[in-house]
Amino acid sequence: MSDTIEERSTNKLEQVVIRFAGDSGDGMQLTGDRFTESSAMFGNDLATLPNFPAEIRAPAGTLAGVSAFQVHISDHDILTPGDAPSVLIAMNPAALRSELHDLTAGGTLIVNSDAFDERNLAKAGYSTNPLTDGSLSDYSVYEVPMTSITLEATKPTGARPRDAERSKNFFALGIVSWMYTRPVEDTVAWIEQRFAKNALVRDANLLAFKAGFNFGETAEIFPPAYRVLPAPLTKGNYTNISGNTALAWGLVAAGQLAKLPVFLASYPITPASDILHELSKHKNFGVRTMQAEDEIAAVGAALGASFGGHLGVTTTSGPGVDLKSETIGLAISMELPLLVIDIQRGGPSTGLPTKTEQADLLLAMYGRHGESPLPIVASKTPSDCFFAAIEAVRLAVKYRTPVILLSDGYLGNGTEPWRMPDVSQLPDISVPFASEPNGAEGEFLPYLRDPETLARPWAVPGTPGLEHRLGGIEKEDVSGNINYEPANHEHMVQLRAAKIAGIARDIPLVELDDPDGDAEVLVLGWGSTEGTIIAAVRRLRESGCKVAQAHLTHLNPFPSNLGDVLRRYPKILVPEMNLGQLSRLVRAEYLVDAKTYSKVQGLPFRIDELEAAIGALLDD
């Protein structure tokens, strides 16, 4: 265990994509997380893709219960978790059967041979044993009796076999850590800390991990270990961050930058609950969290807090947005700040709770009765969720409007190294509350607007002289009194629309990436597809193709130059994890022939898929 990387003869690798797969009770997410963390500390660039079943404990050994974690580590800047793994660790037959089709030809397959008994083979639907029937001949297969070695290795702890067996994921982690020359000290320290409360489990995991590492070294069945050198990342301090954590921290930051106490009210829902969990920890930042009785109460409480001068936020996923629609409409009518965060998942209905999708764009855009526009911001990478949260809050408080922030399951659970910003450089996004009457006769006019932003004053209870009543009934402009007159209603509808449309003047232009300026095809994306799109475009350019690329983070209103950018290109491709929602919006708005490239499998695009789709349009 004392080897340093320099001492060992190793094969250099530029990058590798590894997938850990096992039963959902096998701890694959934890194993993958730990491997990722040690790779991050080592200095690799990386991206991860967890993929787990919706059931908490699907029947053991079945295909439905397979949980997988893919990590892409590299010595250079990478943008995605990788298309296909070249290394697959399969803890049982079901994991092999469910994941093998993705393994690249000639890839490395490490299996827990102990799990390949008749019962497990039958549960996975194998009629013959793939380890012996020759069906794996295209791969380098390493059969390791992980369960029995783990049992043997953990004997000194005295743990009962049933318990000891559960450490086999750490045995697997040990093997892979050896294979890719990961530093072991961090992982040892991590196990000691993580399982500090249960000495038996801690010791069993430590012994299993070390046994795995030593097995790799001494068993001589593996090729020499590989090295993936640190990537030349920009200088700075890094951490490995998931989208949901970045979002939670972005909200803490936004509260400070807006000089408002954060009030988060949410109802538990996959895959958004982690944001509630994270924010619940940070009470010393003055963050109040409330687990509401339902999605409607959550958004209602957030709106009530906003009325009281707090930064009202609610986090959810698609089904929750459906339920919150009416309250979002009220916030539009009352013109109060509110942030609704949608970590999109596969729909409709319960759909695919643990899988990713981008199919809530039109819901965010149009999912309310009446003319009810609001700004929409989308994050593009896990770490970008931090900045997207700040931007969404900036718009909400400045324009006194609900904002929908779209992230998705892929961003929320995926991780990447993040060069942490210097928080003193983040912008001040605070706006003053109204403090004085604004009417000619000393009265307060709650709907007298700022001529620039069209935002109305935000007067919070506790301010003498500004007592006023808000509500969902149509209001008279300026006074805010109830008003049913036809012309006033049309005027208010137009005003609310103009206020949101005017935000286009206050957001960055869309950046066009077209090195020679003469590409024929523009690839337009939004949200979490950015990494894959850029990677596919890079590859095409390497093979001499001319492709332009642009990515949107503001979906409503669009950046003011978007129309000009789109009209420069005869061919536009919009890859989306839906049936064509952004393409529909840009077609309607700009009358351009944007084509959809769609994927709705609950999984992100692969680079090769996109490359082929863009290539096909180029040849068209």
Binding site: P230, H282, K283, G300, M420, P461, G472
Partner: protein, 339 residues
Amino acid sequence: MTDTAVPLTTKKDWSSDQEVRWCPGCGDYSILTAVQMLMPDLGVKRENTVFVSGIGCSSRFPYYMNTYGMHSIHGRAPAIASGLAVARPDLDVWVITGDGDGLSIGGNHLIHALRRNVNLTILLFNNQIYGLTKGQYSPTSEVGKITKSTPFGSVDRPFNPVSLALGAEATFVARTHDLDRKHMMETFRRAHDHRGGAFVEIYQNCNVFNDGAFDPILARDNRSDNLVPLVHGQPVRFGKEDQLGVTLDDQGRAQVVQVADVGEDALLVHDETRDDPGLAFQLSRLARGPFEPTPMGVFRAVERPDYGTAIGDQLVASHARQGPGDLQALLASGSTWTV
């Protein structure tokens, strides 16, 4: 928002300039008057007072109060007001709701606001009908109610709002009615002064769609033998000559008795501070509906930490423990490395 002495005010100061638009003769008027008359006596400031309502006839109420207010959406007032009260424990937050708003579409929010003991004063105007949508039966309408939506009579049993609130762990539960301003004012004052979730059911006459629903107990001649005043520490006793009282039968159920038959000492002595809500619940079941002797007053008033204060205390405690939040340190709280 600095605290200065509360200025002297009158009912007029608490009345907004908006024209009140309930049907002439509606019971809502007298409730509004009772609240507006009470406010100057509560020792609170207009700017620190917020009325939040849902949708329905009663929910127009905030427009008529010269305070902060919100006329929100159907059923959601307790949820919205909860967010406000938790964010701003310094405010007096009132919720105005009705039997449809609070018990049908918003039932979930009402019970959870009470369960959590959010610092809210909730006034539920119970007229046993949907008024604003022009006369459908409500979750408090009696079985067999003939309305536009139930031409052959409703077949589902109503809620007893007081029983419901007690079942939802409410710390303050009371009932009053729109014909007794003094009783309303006293009940509202008690509800306001209660720290935590206070629930008041108000029998309110809808003279357009359900006129006289409470006449069996509230008509002048019927009151004395049908209104059972609840007075803390006193035997539960009523009737023209105080001839009637309440005892528990051998099954533990509240029942009306002739005092002469059982003797004064056998009467149930009302204790609103009992930790266990069982007896209060029995009293709430005394009448099967507003057509037989019905208790009025405070059923339950117990002290429990309120939700917003408890959340605020956690903030203070973690601030004391961890110091003020340091954002840069938060970002670096996981494993970090330097390139």
